[in-house]
Structures are given as structure tokens and as C-alpha cells.
């Protein structure tokens, strides 16, 4: 058993290592080293905990056993999961963090002596407050993430589930949670503790069902942030520096990512959270007029690109759906062999989660120095010959620049229309995530390539 001082120092070290883990992500070169620091920090935290409890009874074997079981499941999932399923994976993992926080809070509540928090029915007030907040936030994170996971997996319909009086109901439940925490802390009653947990699970569920499937990424980041604050709350209870630091890091990270997404979509955070988005817009999507479009086939596309000197690829959510990233990479290789300059333009909210397109392109071995952010490349469209828009839609929609009535007005978009010609690979004229029509489809210099993204890309490569 090591002293409290020594373990405090080691927890500090592991907190600092977690900071370095995130810091590593500031560039792809340092990112692997960063991940290594994260792993090291975790090993230190776990080892120190063993040493500071110092009770090497048979319990230890079970602890190791459960780590092994969990670890194998985790490792198995990590190796099997396809890159396109990242959003679901993250949601699923979040639910586990939430549940783990709940379980730790339950253990601490049932056996406060083990955690130095007083005795049962007589837990230190401060600890009880922190504990119940941690448990409630953890429970919300759990049930919310489960819904997000089901919606993203397609097991549950992505359309928002709304009913009358929804928001007042939620408000009442949220207030009742605060009241429960208050009474729990004054009575130390374990019944109230269980009720608190049940109600928290319920509200997590109710809060997320009205939010449309496509808004799930914002929800996931928000839940990520919650799970961070829950961890920090438990960290205060356990008086553990590593948990406090990590909780604050994760809390900020989730908050910043949801902020970035909301800004990228030009919507307010409350607009997302109050839900209903995606339902209301279906009307506007159906009332679209029948305007003439120019559509072409793989041959036309190949011809246009062969004669171009520079091509900019604009991938979007459809590329992820069709898993077209490898086919795309092959097409680009062929283009490059013909001395055509190719670059990729990534919109901050292309796809369904931050950095979604980057991961997929990286998976297909696209070097990251050919991939550019919106601000870096937006001026180059004017000088490029062909914009190859593959499965993207909203992120190119010029209505964001022109129509103040449009729901995406003010969102920055990629200026693909400035290219000499624009190729759109998608299966139909149907709108994207935001549910609004795209004027570009009907433009002079646009050629629609109606097909599955992967199939079309492969066909083009054959024709090049």
C-alpha cells in the first residue's frame, strides 16, 4: 500500500499524460505518440489504484478477470468495426461510460466506508451531493447515448418522436431531479437514490427521442461533454486528481465539438436540443418543381475529367453511405497518372460527425496533405476545371449564401459552382440532411451522375 501523497502525485502524472494525449492530436504526426501517452496515463492510474487500496485479497483476481473480459470485448469491437460505423461506436461507448459512472456511484452509496466517505446512511454531505449529481448525469448519458446509438444504427427510426406537452414534461422531470437530489441529501434515504436513478434514465431517454437521427452527432458530443462532467463529479467524490482533470478535459472537448458542429450548420445549440429538426422540413422538400437537369453517365464524366488540368473532390455523407472511399482513391490515382492535379475539399460538417470524411479518406490511404479544409481551398474552385461532388449536397448549396429564409442561411459552403463544370454523384434529386433543394442541380455547368457513389466511381475509373 502506497501513501496518499505518492498516489496523489501519480494521479497528477496520469492527468498530465491525458493532457498530452489530446495535445498530440494537434497534428497527425504527433497523434500516435499522443495516444501512447494516453495509454500510459491509464496504466499508471490503474496501477496506482491497486497499490493504494493495497487489499490484495481474492478480489484482485476478479478485478483482473473483469478487466480481461471487458478488455477483450473492447479490443474485439475496435478491430472489427468498419470506419463508416464510427458515429454509432462513439455513441455506444458513451453509454458505457455513463453506466460505469452510475455503477461506481451506486457502489459508493452502498459502501461509503470503502471510499472513505463516511458510513452508510451517514455519508458526508459534500460527497453525497457530488455523488448524486455524478449518478444523475451518468444515467442521462447512458440512456441518451443508447437512443443515439439505436437511431444511428437504424434500429430505431431516425425521425424525431414528438408529442404534445413534451417540453413541459421534460422541464417538470428535470426540476423533480433537483428536488430528489435535495431530499436525498437531507434524508440519506436509499429509496430516493434509486428513484433518482430511475428518473434520470427516463429523462435521458425523453430528451433524445425528439431529436432527429441526423442531429445525433451534436447529441453525441453533448453527451460526451456530460460524461466528462459526470466523471469530474465522481472525481470530487473520490478526491481523485486524475478524474477531475480528465473530466474537465472531456467536458470541454464535447462542448467545443458540439459548438463547432452547430456553427458549421449555422444553427443554435438550443435549436438542435429542442428537437424536431428534419420533421418540419419534409414539406418544403416535397413541393419542389420539376425543373430540367442535365444528367450523364460514367463515360461523360470520365471525358470531362480526362480533359481537365485540375480536379477538386468534394466528398459528403453519401460517400460514407456507399463506402466509396477506396474506389474514389483509385479513381484519383488514375487521374494523377494522367497528370491531373487533384485535391480534396472537406467542409467542416461534411458527413455526419466532425472529421468524418478525413477518417474515411485516411482509411483509403489518401495522404492528408492532399486534403484541405474549407478556408484553405475555397478560393481554388475558381481556377479548377472540375468539381467532383461525391455524395455531398448541403455543404455545396449556394442557397446558404443567397436566401436569408433558408434554414442553412449563413452556413459557410464550398463554392463548387465557380468551377468550369460540376459533377454531382448521387442517386436521385432528393435533398440531403437539411431537407432543402439544391439549385446547383439545375445549373448550366452541372452534370448529374445518378448512381450509387461507389459504383459510379468504379465505372468512371474504367472509362478513364
Amino acid at each position: 500500500m502506497i501513501s496518499a501523497n505518492l498516489s496523489a502525485i501519480f494521479y497528477l502524472v496520469s492527468g498530465v499524460l491525458f493532457i498530452l494525449a489530446l495535445r498530440g492530436l494537434s497534428s497527425p504526426e504527433t497523434s500516435r505518440q499522443g495516444n501512447f501517452f494516453g495509454i500510459l496515463g491509464m496504466i499508471i492510474a490503474v496501477t496506482v489504484t491497486f497499490l493504494s487500496v493495497g487489499n490484495f485479497s481474492t478480489g484482485l483476481i476478479y478485478v483482473l478477470l473483469f478487466i480481461l473480459i471487458g478488455g477483450s470485448i473492447g479490443a474485439f469491437i475496435a478491430y472489427k468495426i468498419p470506419m463508416t460505423a464510427m458515429p454509432e461506436l462513439v455513441a455506444g461507448f458513451h453509454s458505457l461510460v455513463g453506466l460505469a459512472a452510475v455503477f461506481v456511484a451506486i457502489s459508493a452509496f452502498l459502501n461509503p466506508e470503502a471510499f472513505n466517505l463516511g458510513s452508510q446512511g451517514n455519508i458526508k454531505l459534500g460527497s453525497l451531493i457530488e455523488m448524486s449529481i455524478g449518478a444523475a448525469v451518468g444515467a442521462i448519458t447512458f440512456s441518451g447515448s443508447i437512443i443515439a446509438f439505436l437511431k444511428l444504427q437504424g434500429i430505431m427510426s431516425g425521425s424525431p418522436i414528438t408529442f404534445r406537452g413534451q417540453h413541459p414534461l421534460n422541464a417538470v422531470i428535470l426540476i423533480s431531479i433537483l428536488v430528489l437530489i435535495y431530499y436525498l441529501c437531507s434524508t440519506q434515504s436509499s429509496n430516493l437514490f434509486w428513484i433518482l436513478l430511475a428518473v434520470s434514465f427516463l429523462i435521458g431517454f425523453l430528451l433524445i427521442i425528439p431529436i432527429g437521427g441526423a442531429d445525433m452527432p451534436v447529441v453525441i458530443s453533448m453527451l460526451n461533454s456530460y460524461s466528462g462532467w459526470a466523471a469530474a463529479g465522481i472525481g470530487f467524490t473520490l478526491e481523485n486528481t486524475a478524474l477531475i482533470i480528465t473530466g474537465a478535459l472531456v467536458g470541454s472537448s464535447g462542448a467545443i465539438l458540439s459548438y463547432i458542429m452547430c456553427k458549421g450548420m449555422n444553427r443554435s445549440f438550443f435549436n438542435v436540443i429542442l428537437g424536431g429538426f428534419g420533421a418540419t422540413n419534409e414539406t418544403s422538400a416535397t413541393k419542389k418543381e420539376q425543373r430540367p437537369v442535365k444528367s450523364g453517365n460514367a463515360d461523360d464524366a470520365a471525358f470531362l475529367m480526362k480533359n481537365a488540368s485540375s480536379v477538386i473532390i468534394v466528398p459528403g455523407y453519401g460517400m460514407a453511405v456507399a463506402q466509396a472511399q477506396h474506389a474514389l482513391r483509385e479513381m484519383v490515382d488514375t487521374l494523377k497518372k494522367n497528370d491531373i492535379k487533384v485535391s480534396y475539399a472537406i467542409h467542416p460538417v461534411a458527413g455526419r460527425m466532425p472529421g468524418h470524411m478525413n477518417v474515411l479518406l485516411a482509411e483509403a490511404n489518401v495522404p492528408y496533405d492532399e486534403v484541405f479544409e474549407l478556408e484553405e481551398i475555397n478560393n481554388d474552385f475558381a481556377n479548377a476545371d472540375v468539381a467532383f461532388v461525391i455524395g455531398a449536397n448541403d455543404v455545396t448549396n449556394p442557397v446558404a449564401k443567397t436566401d436569408p429564409q433558408s434554414p442553412i442561411y449563413g452556413m459557410p459552403v464550398l463554392d463548387v459552382e465557380k468551377c468550369k463544370s460540376v459533377l454531382f454523384v448521387k442517386r436521385s434529386l432528393s435533398p440531403g440532411y437539411a431537407g432543402i433543394d439544391n439549385d446547383l442541380f439545375y445549373k448550366e455547368n452541372t452534370l448529374m451522375l445518378f448512381a450509387d457513389a461507389k459504383k459510379m466511381t468504379e465505372d468512371i475509373t474504367k472509362n478513364l
Binding site: 491525458f18 494525449a21 495535445r23 492530436l25 497527425p28 497523434s31 500516435r32 495516444n35 494516453g38 489504484t49 487489499n55 485479497s57 481474492t58 478480489g59 478485478v63 473483469f66 478487466i67 480481461l68 473480459i69 471487458g70 473492447g74 479490443a75 469491437i77 475496435a78 470506419m83 464510427m86 461506436l89 458505457l96 461510460v97 461506481v104 457502489s107 459508493a108 459502501n111 470503502a114 471510499f115 459534500g126 460526451n224 460524461s227 466528462g228 466523471a231 469530474a232 470530487f236 486528481t241 478524474l243 477531475i244 480528465t246 473530466g247 474537465a248 472531456v250 470541454s252 464535447g254 465539438l257 472537406i346 460527425m353 466532425p354 472529421g355 478525413n358 495522404p367 492528408y368 492532399e370
Partner: protein, 102 residues
């Protein structure tokens, strides 16, 4: 004249929020997906609480209600830790520079 440790923890918490703010804003947008998975992994450091709970039994009686919750929490957190770090590793391994030879 002793200062309550809670205040120190509060200081640590607040400073960590500052650090988190800066460190996350400095993450390059193309690594936002790995950021999500790695924060997932590190937030599972909550496993330290689960271990304390799991080890709270004594030699004769390893399983009590509290320690059972602890063991389940250990397994859940371990899924996240291994899953989170490994999937991040897998993603990061894919980010490559253009090969010089080409």
C-alpha cells in the same frame, strides 16, 4: 489556517477546464473523430472508482452488493478503455503523409 482540500480540487478543476479549452481548440479538424474516441477512452479512467469498489470486499466475502456493481463497472470501463484506445490507434495509423518516393 488549514485550507480545505476541496478548494484545491476546485482550483485544479478550473485550471483543467482552461487547459481543456486550449488543447481541444488546437486539435486539427481532420482529427476530430479520433478526438471523440480518445476522450471516450480517457473518460473511462472512472475505472479507478470501480476498482476501489471491486476490492472493497474481504477475502472471505469477495462479492457483496457494492463490489458486484464495482465489478460490472470495471468490465464496462475496460470495454471503453481498450476499445477506445485501440480504435483511435487504428484510425491514427491511417493518417499518412504523401510518400516521398511518388
Amino acid at each position: 489556517m488549514e485550507i480545505d482540500p476541496l478548494i484545491f480540487r476546485l482550483s485544479i478543476f478550473i485550471l483543467s477546464i482552461f487547459v481543456g479549452y486550449y488543447v481541444v481548440w488546437s486539435v486539427t479538424p481532420s482529427l476530430h473523430t479520433p478526438l471523440m474516441s480518445v476522450t471516450n477512452a480517457i473518460s473511462s479512467v472512472i475505472i479507478v472508482g470501480a476498482i476501489i469498489a471491486g476490492l472493497s470486499g474481504n477475502s472471505e466475502n469477495v462479492f457483496n452488493t457494492s463490489s458486484i456493481f464495482g465489478f460490472v463497472a470495471i468490465a464496462l470501463a475496460a470495454i471503453n478503455i481498450f476499445g477506445g484506445f485501440l480504435v483511435t490507434q487504428r484510425m491514427l495509423a491511417m493518417y499518412k503523409k504523401k510518400k516521398k518516393g511518388k
